[in-house]
Symmetry: C2
Subunit: 641 residues, 2 copies
Amino acid sequence: MSKHVVRFVPENISVTVDKGTTVLRAASLAGIEIKSTCGGKGSCGRCAIKVVDGQVRYEKGNRSKKLKDQGLDLACQTFVEGDVVVEVPRDSRLDKHQVLLENENRGKVLAEKELDLLQEYEFKPLCRKVQLTLEPPTLTENASDLTRLQAELRQTTQCKELIVGLPVLQKLAQTLRQEDWKVTATLACMNGITEIINVEPGHIANSGYGLAVDIGTTTVVVYVVDLATGETVDKRGTYNKQAKYGDDVISRMIYAGEENGLQELQDAVIATINELTDQLLEKNGIKPADVMVAVTAGNTTMAHLLLGLPPKYIRLEPYIPTATELPPVKARELGIHINPEAWVLSFPAVASYVGGDIVAGVLATQMARSEEMTLFIDIGTNGEIVLGNKEFLISCACSAGPAFEGGGITFGMRAMTGAIERINIDPNTFDVQLKTIGDSKPIGICGSGLIDCLAKLHRVGLIDRTGQFFRDRETPRLRKTDDGWEFVLAWADESDIDQDIVITEADIKNLLRSKGAVFAGIQSLLKSMQMDVNMIEKIIIAGGFGNYLNVDDAVQIGLLPDVERDKYEFLGNTSVKGARMALLSQDAFRESIELGHKMTYLELSAGTTFMDEFVSATFIPHTDLTLFPSVKDEVEQGKAG
Amino acid sequence: MSKHVVRFVPENISVTVDKGTTVLRAASLAGIEIKSTCGGKGSCGRCAIKVVDGQVRYEKGNRSKKLKDQGLDLACQTFVEGDVVVEVPRDSRLDKHQVLLENENRGKVLAEKELDLLQEYEFKPLCRKVQLTLEPPTLTENASDLTRLQAELRQTTQCKELIVGLPVLQKLAQTLRQEDWKVTATLACMNGITEIINVEPGHIANSGYGLAVDIGTTTVVVYVVDLATGETVDKRGTYNKQAKYGDDVISRMIYAGEENGLQELQDAVIATINELTDQLLEKNGIKPADVMVAVTAGNTTMAHLLLGLPPKYIRLEPYIPTATELPPVKARELGIHINPEAWVLSFPAVASYVGGDIVAGVLATQMARSEEMTLFIDIGTNGEIVLGNKEFLISCACSAGPAFEGGGITFGMRAMTGAIERINIDPNTFDVQLKTIGDSKPIGICGSGLIDCLAKLHRVGLIDRTGQFFRDRETPRLRKTDDGWEFVLAWADESDIDQDIVITEADIKNLLRSKGAVFAGIQSLLKSMQMDVNMIEKIIIAGGFGNYLNVDDAVQIGLLPDVERDKYEFLGNTSVKGARMALLSQDAFRESIELGHKMTYLELSAGTTFMDEFVSATFIPHTDLTLFPSVKDEVEQGKAG
């Protein structure tokens, strides 16, 4: 097979590939990360590139007129036929911005919450260091090194079963004698078994660190936690490097089925964790060998990909994961850049679409210990919902789609600097006022902005309850293009991307389907328990999405239930918070395993309840306005408008 | 540093080495295995080579006049200074003969014994296969693959705790669906925990195999055992490839301390196990993946080297091993050529010089379950002795040295074809009649031959009770050389090596020290329990040595206690037999762990009892003739002779 050189500009990075390779694949090989929401299926239209020079072959793909006009092609549908030069526009590149970890405004509240959470559990980290001074052996007191160490540890710690692995044993003799029988042993305690995972010569002051890791489909967040104090030393987030293989879990699962795909996905997420870990440890002067344990929480697909488990049957009906309770593995088995003997633990999942991140969230909310009937909602690429209290916990997953994270929306983007988060529309002139994250010029619109936009478009009478534009409104912002109707939120000269930022009718329909799925999920859970909305005593919103969310907007479009606003609570990234709790408390870790068993799963695709609810919920706010008493009047007025 | 080429003849194998490398090391790199009893210290004189051409530098070493006369040098004391050509004589090469597994004469008895042994324990192998047919999942019955498998296994096997490793999980989804939810799971049960170590699609008929492995300093023996029937499918033994780094454990331990030495020793023993395993599996048409568990038994040093644990402090006072109870490791961690997920278990040791081979031996003898006061003796390179019954077990190790295996004896050799095993000397003419193994021409003398030789030399009045030749005996066989007095056992023209085969006075002194050490060990154990020889109800002789041993000879020279001959029993390789029992019975395996704790260890170098006993025991048979009533008269007569 003939080989050709693909050169990417402006970087001027060249790679040699087989004839027939896609430009998307070539870019990946060159280390240039291109957006690919659909995973290279030619359907999302995100991977636009310009072939500057050379011979290529095209396949059909979802290339919009706009792309054609700009002379752009889809990287996934462009096949190399000779040496080529390719330009990758900025819009097609995966963003490198740092992920916002918390809403600054809510930071203080959250920090206090975090401390509160921990007080509920005994502070007993999964790992700890113990300083020991052993009696040296003699001819008559000649127990083996290990027996001597175990005996002393049993006395000091009251641990009975004390196991040890080969790497520790291999250096034990030397270590014990190096500082005259003074040593520091690191113990990992899980499920009643204690393992000596490290023995260091002398009495070591530092008490070791742990990682709490949230593995999201979109972003990965790592906390470095001091195991002596429980303090979070530092934290950092970034985009999951798997993003280049598709934006959502479905695309990732499909990619995992391709040759070497699973390995590439596993490598990508581990590289992401390692990048964050390397940065955090270096910045804080912590040696990788001093990080003795990691707890990860992610959705079921992410957890499978981390461990190299094929997610194939998660995707296919009846949606079965390989495992919900995942075995602990050694850091060296995964190649995580911490102590090779450290255990890497995964939060258990409930089912294919209610994963360890949700179990960690439930742990963090402590709803399983509370009398209060709680509704826990995590809206990310998918929407997961848990209803219950100490008596029962029932969960479901609704394919909300990536709309609230900006996926499938023309100018959708994640919540980062330049994203429109608030919108005001003058009811008379239809003029628009915007508020962006970081108060910079707008470059797109994030989830909370989209919800606000929908609410305002409806409130001022620009769209009807099905999300369709009233064609007759007189404003230059409302216009018809080849792709259908759209409303201009920001003109090109106001934006930072020299284009009009618009929301299209297709975008709005997407949003309505997403919000309808979430609300229908809530209704399905309630109905399965013969409950109604008014019986909910607390609603906890998790995820980055909640950081910028305006509850009134969300209620107004029918995304969230219309209950007293003070029942709402925002907990931010509950996944990493739960992981941190498990890290710091063996009891919390044990409880997480129990939660995995206790939480039941309602499969929405079984039966007709969900579909019925979904259809009703795709209206603004809903076909049944009695469910939304606080907005009923306004809606009926808007409908008339 | 300059490099030079060393070419070995007659093979014509060349290696390039740094200037200053020893010829011994160069030979090792070239894959030519040279005897090196002392491990390259220049003291044993075994590694004789001839420098045919090129420049070398010599260091001092124990080079006998004989070697000098033959123009031979010691490979370990000859340093490469330029390109050289080296000839390696046949005598200096490690033998490639197959190790004799059992004495053919005793074969039948042993086979029966083997069956008996097993009947004492419930037949419950450490590993077994279970055929399962699972209910396929549905939308409403959607437990994970692992949960489904575990539930079915719990029901079928009553195992509660069922763990699973990553490699099994990674292929589980595919495996379950390949034959429509029919699978065969392999379970490994140890210490109350059951691990699913393999899942195969469909219902597999074969029930899996296990390896029982005896790792001796000199030889390694592997049994392949059918885990369904308990039958030993086949067995094979060969020399431990570590032999090129020294004949005894001390030399090996010293070599382990050299750069990369530990790794080389570990590699060598694993290569030995793999060679045997490969041959056995191929011959019997067994796939490596079907071998699901291995149990090894070896002395403490061998067990350390297998796992890559540095044996340094086993050698140095107060003689402390890294561990006596060794963790199970996966076959893949060691690189053993069986199923990578198979557990490789090591028999626990009692102390640095009473290892897992002795614990396995005690298990095989079942003395720990018996009322009978039993003395268990394993004479190999070292001598280990255990005294006791179901009430107590006390053990010791006496450095018998390698004399009984032919080490340190001019024409000493192991028990193989051509070895003199029986000797008769005419009391009048001093003419000699020989019996060799395989009835071929003699090439040396093995342990049992040496004992017989000593007994006969004494009986016919050629040596006194201290082992010194009566210089005045008139026979051409008794002669004085530059190296001292010697007696010719076979003339050059009768031998297969074109040399006179002799036993020297130095050889005899070596043998007396060896036998004295063993007997002094026995006496020390008895004295520590305030017992005497007559309280022993049974004496079990283990090891290949016992295969050819004549008890009368051994008693006559004072190696073994003078008790009724029918108290003696020979069990052959009790180490591998114990390993096999543990393989086939979880109870026996558990008992072996308990034995490791139950057996106490008497350190002979603490206190003066052993040294006093040793001095008395270096006489023929002993200074205290009341200990040897059956030979007392003859000895007193011989003394007069």
